[in-house]
Amino acid sequence: MSTQTLNRRDGFLPAVTERIRGRYLSPVASFILFVALFATIVVRYGFTSPSQVFLNLLVDNAHLIVLAVGMTFVILTGGIDLSVGSVVALSTVILAKTLESGWPAPVAIVFVLLAGTVLGLLMGTVIEYFDVQPFIVTLAGMFLARGLCYVISVGTLPIKDPLLRKLGLNYLYLYEDKFIRWTVVIALIVVVVAIYVLHETRFGRTVYAIGGSRQSAQLMGLAAARTQVSVYVISGFCAALAGVLLGVQKLSGYSLNGIGLELDAIAAAVIGGVLLSGGVGFVLGAVIGVLVLGTIQVFVTTENLDSYWTRIMTGVLLLVFVLVQRVLVRDTR
């Protein structure tokens, strides 16, 4: 009897609004913001093909999407990975260097991905088994990766491999004249796999559980230690893959690539509603965050503003979303 009255009061619509008010608020808010920003830009500059503008967003930010996905895993456990920007640079440099010395492209790519994964594994191990804060360990990883870049090459190395050129330059026509590139396909596959892993597997649930409370997760008998290391491995892998994508996009390897990219990835995650204290957030939220950042970039370039406006606007957005999250957390508790 009482359940029925309860059910009647919590009808479908209130349940939806309740959910939106909860942890869905931030992603939904950033999605609305993205649509509004995007519409404004399309109307203001009279872009003839809005769908191509959107597809270009994906093309330009394919690497950032992959990076934000990896960062989401780490942040969900309550950690942080500052090394990703440098690992991206290192990956582009290793890729270019190995190709230059005559490695076949698939081998070079696998080697790059392996390097990123191993670096992530090392950092995860130190964090988990020696109890050093993630912030410091990944900071050291950031210095190490950036330093290794310079050791390998200080200048720009071109990527001339035909397969990779094809990957980076060829259009993939969706319909009529609307196109994306292969890098976008790879990025979207990563997103889909990540969503599956986070929401449908035991591993994914453990990631959320650790972010909620590490101690409880451990007491429940979840494989907390292994999962904690794994998220850094995933982040390292994603960073290396993002490096491959960026290398393919720019068709060069350069040690100054990706400076400050870790901040963009963190900002994207926060704007997309991933709580930095861990345990709350979605992969899709982070992707929306990337799209918001990408739209700001488009606005700044089409408006012919100086590039530093991107940073200021990102900062302001970050502030707004942090405050929104703050209000949200206060409400739900």
Partner: protein
């Protein structure tokens, strides 16, 4: 006495610094030589002190922030803004060398730094936002604001008086290091000769408990962020004055990372609740000496980062309790333990030495 030295948290940083200096002496025998020229001291050691002064200053502010269980990522941005404001003001005046111009420029820069510190303090203590995110906002936007002030240009100034802070000498020593050491002395006196340091550590250990115990949580947290920004502001003036220009893109780039490293190497825990100002000074010196070592060893300067990473990991592992225990167990298996395995005996003098520093 020996036990006290062995248990001191300053032991590892001090040994690391001595080892680095020793390595330099092997590489260049004249490394420790200091000579007098034009009434002031010259030599590699003096260079280390002068170039390390900004990092040292920023790290001092960072120490107090970290002690309160916070972190301040925005110091690099504050460095850039402070330098940009000072140079923009001096460049706009007809006489860049007059005392009033330089003084106003510095006051404007430091005033802005205090405002930015207040901003961080409001976000952290009033809105209760995690320090790492609250300061990330300013870290992201700050450098953009600095570029906005300088219009994206590098603003150069010709002002002998302004140069004094970063490149001048007094009493035979660089002014920059004297300023940093003066700040160190003041902070050490205030935190260790009054209850302030203990209150700060209380907040770091448990903010809620300290608040219930009557510690003025908000005021103290506000104060540490303002102090950190103020230190960053002075460091920004030093850097701008040293090169007589404001380079909003590169001034203070990664200085927040260096400062945090210096703090951690010095034995302050990122979890808050315990801090050592002397350790921070040692940490900043280690980082600067490392950079200088790479230069003098003739290794390409770009690879400094690799060495920095190695040193950071080594020192952090040495301080990680789990790693220490592992080492000790190994040693215990090989022969009689040289270090007493007694945690009480070890931790008691530790609090002593930290309090004394």
């Amino acid at each position: 006495m020996t036990r006290r030295v062995i248990a001191s948290p300053l032991l590892w940083p001090a040994l690391a610094l001595i080892a680095l200096l020793g390595l330099n002496v092997v590489l260049t025998p004249s490394f420790l030589a200091i000579r007098v020229e034009d009434d002031h001291l010259y030599g590699s050691l003096i260079d280390i002190l002068r170039n390390g002064a900004p990092t040292m200053l920023v790290a001092l502010g960072m120490t107090l922030v970290i002690a309160s269980r916070g972190i301040d990522l925005s110091v690099g941005a504050v460095v850039a803004i402070s330098g940009a404001l000072a140079c923009a003001h001096i460049a706009a005046q007809p006489d860049g060398n007059s005392v009033t111009t330089v003084a106003t420029a510095m006051l404007i820069a430091l005033g802005a730094a205090v405002v930015l510190g207040l901003w961080n303090g409001i976000l952290v203590s009033s809105f209760g936002i995690q320090p790492i995110i609250a300061t990330l906002v300013l870290m992201t936007a700050g450098r953009g604001i600095a570029l906005l002030i300088t219009n994206g240009q590098i603003v150069t100034v010709t002002s002998e008086r302004f140069r004094v802070l970063g490149a001048g000498y007094a009493l035979g020593l660089p002014v920059a290091i004297l300023v940093s050491l003066a700040v160190f002395a003041v902070v050490a006196t205030i935190t260790r000769r009054s209850a302030l340091g203990m209150l700060l550590e209380a907040i770091g250990v448990n903010p809620e408990a300290s608040r219930l115990a009557g510690v003025r949580y908000r005021t103290i947290v506000f104060a540490v962020y303002v102090f950190s920004a103020l230190c960053a502001g002075i460091a920004g003036l030093m850097i701008a004055s040293n090169i007589s220009a404001a380079d909003a893109n590169n001034a203070g780039l990664w200085i927040e990372m260096d400062a945090i490293l210096a703090v951690v190497i010095g034995g302050t825990s990122l979890l808050g609740g315990r801090f050592s100002l002397t350790g921070t000074i040692l940490g900043a010196l280690i980082i600067q000496t490392l950079t200088t070592t790479v230069y003098t060893a003739g290794i390409t300067p770009e690879t400094t980062l690799v060495f920095k990473a190695v040193v950071v990991i080594a020192v952090c592992l040495m301080q990680a309790p789990k790693f220490r225990r592992l080492l000790r167990r190994r040693r215990g298996a090989a022969g009689p333990p040289t270090v007493p395995d007694d945690d009480v005996a070890e931790s008691a003098p530790r609090t002593d030495t930290v309090a004394a520093s």
